[in-house]
Subunit: 290 residues, 2 copies
């Protein structure tokens, strides 16, 4: 049996790392890359991340056994539409979008119902850097990947996608799409929005008062995710707006409560809140190291 | 001329690092340490961070040429009160409190007016770890220290404190106390309060939904400062409440504006805001590396 041919739609950090990780693991017979950015696509080809380069989605995906859609979330519906004419019942399709409800809704709009060989997925990995130049074969080693198959998704398709991620060293979980979007809104989307909002606000103050020269390592780490790709995060905010809005409102209430504690000089309650936060973070760290 | 004798009130991470840094630089003739925590004080003595250990503030400070108050902000008034009987016109006094207006107010309450040989100061350095075991001589290398002398502060006292920090490798700036408190509220106090508030809120959600297992490196960095000392940050919130409250209110307005953009699906405005944030952070990083 020959090794499967892999198609990567969007050969950036995420897609490029899947390509070179799968190749390093010896699990693919050839990688076809599709990218709208000609310079990025050429770099992917020249550096050996992909074997074949296409600017046309249907052409690139046509003969593949597995196709990974690794574009920003906002582009997935258009990619599915471009794939429809060449969609093969013998192939398996997946995506890496940071939100899942909207990807499933897009698939329903394009195909009438979600194809049984399409497995929605999300690797929880990334970096501020982007583009194929940042890709590396070990990006997913030890990282979590969440698959959100539907009742109608074929088990064999789920197994194939799971095998791909396992060969990249990832730990695979399954989750209902709604639950995925709720969990990721809390652990990823809300923190990103807060970091962007704070850094923009303080950036305006810096232009007046030159405050950044007195910021240190804590500020650097707190704002690191504000260096993320604005386009990707615009898409996520639109794709998972409901969950993000609910959490933003809750967080504003939480801040209002902290303000009350400061206004009333409630030393014990402030201490208790900060201790609760420190303990919660320790619980998170303990899990991260497991 | 003999080398000056240094007194450190509070031999934790901050005070301990001053002691061992000054010793490593060869700038002190002996270090007297005062600490209320007997085990911490013994560790400071056994590890050679201090030469003499005292549990009494007046006794420890009595023969020193320079006394550094390195306790949490909330304890500084009590320390000044304990120092008053042995306050020497020939010595120089300084502190390392993260807020300056309240330290100056405390000095006024204790002495009637701020002594001309007391130089309020703040090194912008630290870590989540605390205690003398975390102290290291290079903690201040390349870090900023802000001094907030008053018009009545003796220039010779300011020079002496500045010399101490320079010999630890720090970069010293001067600032009006109010401006210090406004700047630090933005670059340090607000981010800490946000990190504590978010981590406590999500910790409650984690108890229900086990969300932390799906959080990754971005979340770890964003919440790092939520592992800071709750007592220290309670004190800072009470000491600089006015500035922190003003910024918390502004930040809630900023979040409300982001919510509107998401509600109205204003893609271009979201993209512009996130780009503004990313550019502002790059400006901060460029300065940090200078």
């Amino acid at each position: 049996m020959s090794l499967p041919r892999l198609g990567i739609i969007g050969v950036g950090l995420i897609g490029g790392s899947i390509a070179c990780g799968a190749r390093a693991a010896g699990g693919v017979g050839g990688v076809a890359g599709v990218d709208a950015d000609a310079a990025n696509l050429r770099e992917a080809l020249d550096s050996g991340v992909v074997d074949f380069a296409y600017d046309d989605i249907a052409a690139g995906a046509a003969d593949c056994d597995m196709v990974v859609i690794a574009t920003p979330v906002g582009a997935i519906e258009a990619v599915l539409r471009a794939l429809r004419p060449v969609w093969s019942d013998r192939a398996v399709y997946t995506d890496v979008g940071s939100t899942k409800g909207n990807v499933i809704a897009a698939a329903e709009r394009v195909f009438g119902q979600v194809p049984s060989n399409f497995v929605p997925g999300h690797p929880i990995a990334g970096a501020e850097r982007s583009g194929v130049g940042a890709a590396r074969p070990d990006l997913y080693a030890g990282k979590r990947v969440i698959l959100t198959p539907l009742p109608e998704t074929r088990p064999a398709a789920v197994d194939a996608v799971e095998t791909l991620w396992r060969c990249l060293g990832a730990r695979v979980s399954h989750m209902a799409p709604d639950h995925h979007d709720e969990v990721l809104a809390a652990t990823s989307h809300l923190p990103h929005v807060l970091a962007f909002a704070l850094t923009a606000m303080l950036g305006r103050k810096d232009e007046q008062d030159e405050i950044f020269q007195y910021a240190a390592g804590g500020f650097r780490d707190f704002t690191r995710i504000a260096s993320s790709d604005p386009k990707m995060w615009r898409d996520i905010c639109l794709a998972n707006g409901g969950e993000i809005l609910a959490l933003l409102r809750r967080f504003r209430e939480q801040l209002r409560a902290v303000e009350s504690l400061i206004e009333q000089r409630s030393a014990d309650e402030l201490f208790a809140l900060f201790t609760e936060a420190r303990d919660a973070r320790q619980r998170f760290l303990d899990q991260l190291e497991k």
